[in-house]
Amino acid sequence: METPKPQKISPKKTPIPEQPPQERRRNFGEVALGYSEEQAAQEAGRCLQCKKPLCVTGCPVGVPIPRFISAVRQKDFKRAIETIKEANLLPAVCGRVCPQENQCEKFCTLAKKFDPVAIGRLERFVADWDRSQGSVQVPETAASTGKRVAIVGSGPSGLTCAYDLAKLGHNVTIYEALHEAGGVLVYGIPEFRLPKAIVAREIELLKRMGVTIVTNAVIGKLITIEEIRQQFDACYIATGAGLPRFMNIPGENLNGVYSANEFLTRINLMRAYQFPEYDTPVKQGSHIVVVGGGNVAMDSARTALRLGAEEVSLVYRRSLAELPARKEEVHHALEEGINMELCSNPVRILGGDNGHVTAVECVRMDLCELDDSGRKKPKPIEGSEFQVKADVVIIAVGTGANPLIAQSERNLTVTKHKYIVADEETGKTSLRGVYAGGDIVTGSATVISAMGAGRKAAAAIHEFVLHDSQLPAKSADEPPARKK
């Protein structure tokens, strides 16, 4: 179908309606309210429908972007959602949390002169339109193959792998350590960025496709990988990178100092913001200091603000331009009044007689020389120490691999830092029939890359269980092709 060429391209993205900063900084409702059908069609009209769509090369799962945008422009939203779902199982999630400025939108031809097409916002619109159409349509699944696959971890990687395998007719069981499925999507990313109902709906869909989800099952403790290998035809490990890192500076064990994981888990998973209706408490500080500059730091800072803090400061080693968080989140955080202490690094945390944190001492950083990666290396400026008042400090300086599975399965090859070694294309590990992907292989990355890994592994597992799995399981363990 011929799509009419636009007359004159608007240089700016069609603005998306948002809750005003003064209101939203005190509630947990979603920040962006989403396009209307008219706004979506208007934004879709900015797309040039390039012959060689570079945006698609920027998407880790290859969403057919120009095709779905063309459908949006014609207001054929049903076709749009079907087109997206060819490649992306969770568009309502990705449209909201993908770092589009580094992916699809970065490569958009328009971006050379103007704002790129708002691909993320359009994806989100289409997914929300689909959700508003009433009950979930359970996708058709192939006839049962009689093969059983276990998936460890219910984050985006495990969920995607489960979806693909279930569709292919395999019998899938997901084991999740926590009492709720969803991984970082439920315990990490806050409601105001990703409503929990979206994730709940996707999990409901999997269940209706026949996937079994076993919660409270810590693999490595309750069931070992070895036992899974005996009971299943294949296994996919997608346990994420959930082990919080600390800075090892004095005062880190004072009360009021949290890892971002603990702070966000108390609030998102345990609903501490509704304490005492819910039983789990969290310290409600008035002066909050968050250390770090990624999405996790930004989420912690904005969550603390919503709990009623007077002042929230983010301490980050480098400059504003280098903040690794999604651009949109940084923009929102600034609008909401988060104070940015940039080019600064904490050196110690100070406490009072009651063992509770009172302030964070930081030092200014000079960004001069370039390091190996070509980024400016922050160097402390002598004598530049200053203190930021704090009654809650949240450390968001990264996470590592949880060691539980590696500890209980010595034959699984892991890196020095306990990440699982797996083939990039197939997810194959050193154990026959055992695949791995997502953050537990790559280290903390993105939702979409974790999903991409789940999808590739599902394809490899499908081949394996149909053709190879009859071979004796253990005899043929082999090291995976190691790629770097």
């Binding site: 810590v218 959930g242 310290k283 949880n402």
Partner: protein, 281 residues
């Protein structure tokens, strides 16, 4: 969901024994490990030690002392009811080996998790002596059970109503002076474990303590349970809960346990007003 099969009052008014259906956990659990329970969908996740493991019967036993809202709610539950979430076994098991003489020191509900540990050491062929303490004899728990598996059980009470008058550490010291031990394991209130570690330090007796900082997930994900051992930050849920008592930084641990006192009080008071007279008052 996990079914409560049996409940018994262990010590009036607030310590109860529960036997809970947990076929998978009971097959895997070893002495020294713990579980995390969440009673209902607004509930907190709380850690509880395994007080017995019956793999054949498919059950585990827990001893719950009502000290706050969640533990009080738990002790108000009845056989036939379900605990919403039961997760485990968590933490590392006690290293059980034939160890010559082992002295177990229990205080408060800490004697209960020592029971499966005592059984295991006995089965491994060690001499097992238990020292248990309380303010007075009515507050002792698990004495009978301990007597059934240990070579000797020594009791110390503050008021002298039973056994030696004084602290467990007095009894422990006397016992070690009589015949040294190869291993001491202490489980109980932090002040007690700290005192035990100080008692054995000059003697150089290997001393294991089971730390109980506040936890959330119990899987190494939140870092809320971090403790300082030998100058390093360790996670009690995945690196512990047992650590070398001589290396633990007790001040850090005691401070961190006080973290939520105002919030906990608030939550408990609200609950008590709503459920006046249900338990333990």
């Amino acid at each position: 969901m996990a079914l409560i099969k049996e409940k018994r009052l262990l010590r009036a008014p607030d310590v109860f024994y529960f036997r809970i259906e947990a076929p998978l956990i009971s097959k895997k659990a070893r002495p020294g490990q713990f579980v995390i329970v969440r009673l209902h969908d607004k509930g907190e996740r709380i850690p509880l030690s395994l007080a017995d493991i019956d793999a054949d019967g498919g059950t585990i036993s827990l001893i719950v002392m009502a000290v706050g809202k969640t533990t009080a709610e738990f002790t108000a539950m009845q056989p036939g009811q379900d605990v919403l979430d039961l997760c485990g076994p968590l933490g590392n098991p006690t290293e059980i080996e034939k160890a010559g003489k082992v002295v177990l020191v229990g205080g408060g509900f800490g004697t209960a998790p020592l029971y499966p540990i005592a059984k295991a050491f006995k089965n491994a062929g060690s001499e097992v002596v238990t020292v248990m303490g309380a303010r007075s004899k009515d507050l002792l728990i698990y004495e009978k059970e301990m007597l059934s598996v240990c070579d000797r059980v020594l009791v110390a009470t503050d008021d002298g109503s039973k056994g030696i008058k004084g602290l467990v550490t007095n009894a422990l010291k006397a016992e070690l002076e009589q015949a040294p031990a190869d291993l001491v394991i202490a489980i109980g209130p932090v002040v007690m474990m700290r005192a035990v570690a100080e008692t054995t330090r000059p003697l150089g007796t290997k001393t294991v303590v089971s730390l109980n900082p506040i936890m959330v997930d119990g899987t190494g994900m939140c870092g809320g349970c971090r403790v300082t051992v030998g100058g390093e930050t360790r996670f009690a849920c995945t690196d512990g809960p047992e650590f070398d008592g001589h290396l633990v930084d007790w001040d850090v641990l005691m401070n961190r346990q006080r973290k939520y006192i105002p919030e906990q009080k608030h939550s408990f008071e609200q609950w008590k007003t709503k459920h006046a007279g249900v338990v333990c008052e």
